[in-house]
Amino acid sequence: MVDFTLWDILRNLLLAARWTIVLSLIAFIGGGVMGLVLLVLRLGRNRFADMVIGGYVQLFQGTPLLMQLFLLYFGIALFGVDTSPWVAACMALTLYTSAYLTEIWRGCVEAVPRGQWEASASLALSFGQQLSHIILPQALKIAVPPTVGFLVQVIKGTALASVIGFVELTKAGGMIANATYEPLLVYGFVALIYFAICFPISLVAGSLERKLHVGQR
């Protein structure tokens, strides 16, 4: 029988929290890139692309993340590819993140006054030039606070990867709780570590939000 000291529990949880952070970053960066591509496709005034991407967003926002994880985990296996929880979790969270971010950013682009599009069109700028020089720089300013806020949701979402066997903070917590018979203590620590990661990000998002609206008071 191995005895776990308090420090052993905490140290192992903190080590596992690395994977929570790595998974969050992969999902956030991958989802960000994919979300940007989807956003540009959607702004291209192509009816079909707009409909398909709208459906994609609806699909990911209207179904549980847990089901998305299961579907990818079992779905990739159908193609005869040997999946690891790693690959399935990264893919599912990336797709999930891209659906939310593209929708958040679309709202930000729509908040840019219509006249900006028209003015830049009247200067004979191409669609790409309009986006990169006129629209996106203005939309970016509004987009930062909700994007940072969404990062918290991604980090919390990675906890679900534990269900398909990805060993991150929540899964490690479950394993340590089973080994130590101290579930209250261990899950308490797990919650506190998530809180320590997410709360500062929430605070930053909140203060960015307030700074943005400071002119409107």
Partner: protein, 224 residues
């Protein structure tokens, strides 16, 4: 290579899916009622309560909003028995969903309360309404009306999040899918169907709440 999808073995088990969907809806309904109650109480505490209450409600909201639902659920179901509080999967699921929704509802409803024009409260005071009457008849109904869309979205997020309750053997929709795939090994098909049912439930609940809100929650006498 060819991928053979066969939905029939899953479709035959439709009563399980139906039962699971009913549990998911039931859990959501109870959590919505209780969670909104907590949300209203804590929103009052945060916006108008005395300082210690304001602080306590703030800690509750931030603690819940910055930790994953699955950890809250596991803490309640696996952690609390160590402290002598034993819960069935059903009560643990309801408790976790209620506490979770309550925290988000607090912030949402508070935003609605804070946006109340000062004159409305003064008008209530000039009619000699008590503070309690002003809160329930003057402030709350228009506040709920203002934030109703956000509240409905949050209720749906909590419903989708309840898929995790299957992990503590609560027999809701995702658990039904899991049970079906363990019987016939059609995992992908079972989860696809369950996911589609979730999608349908999300649409249904949104429609239902958008219908219920103006008629029973903030309509009639208090409505602005």
């Amino acid at each position: 290579m060819r991928i053979a999808l066969d939905f029939w073995p899953v479709l035959v088990q439709w009563p399980l899916l139906l039962e699971g969907a009913a549990w998911t809806l039931g859990l959501t309904a109870i959590a919505t009622l209780l969670g909104s109650g907590i949300g209203i109480a804590c929103a009052w505490a945060r916006a108008k309560g005395p300082r210690p209450l304001r602080w306590a409600a703030g800690v509750y909201v931030e603690l819940i909003r910055n930790t994953p639902f699955i950890v809250q659920l596991f803490f309640i179901f696996f952690g609390l028995p160590a402290a002598g509080i034993k819960l069935t999967p059903l009560t643990a699921s309801i408790l976790a969903m209620t506490i979770n929704l309550g925290a988000y509802a607090t912030e949402i409803i508070r935003a609605g309360i804070v946006a109340t024009p000062r004159g409305q409260i003064e008008a209530g005071e000039s009619l000699a309404l008590s503070r309690v009457q002003i809160f329930f008849h003057v402030v709350l109904p228009p506040a709920l009306k203002r934030v109703w869309p956000a509240l409905v979205s949050q209720i749906i997020i909590v419903m989708l999040g309840s898929a995790v309750c299957g992990q503590i053997s609560m027999e809701e929709l995702s658990h039904a899918a899991n049970l079906i795939q363990s019987r016939n090994f059609r995992a992908f098909e079972a989860y696809i169907l369950a996911t589609l049912v979730y999608l349908g439930l999300a649409v249904l609940v949104r429609r239902l709440l958008n219908w219920v809100g103006p008629r029973f929650v903030f309509g009639g006498r208090g409505g602005a």
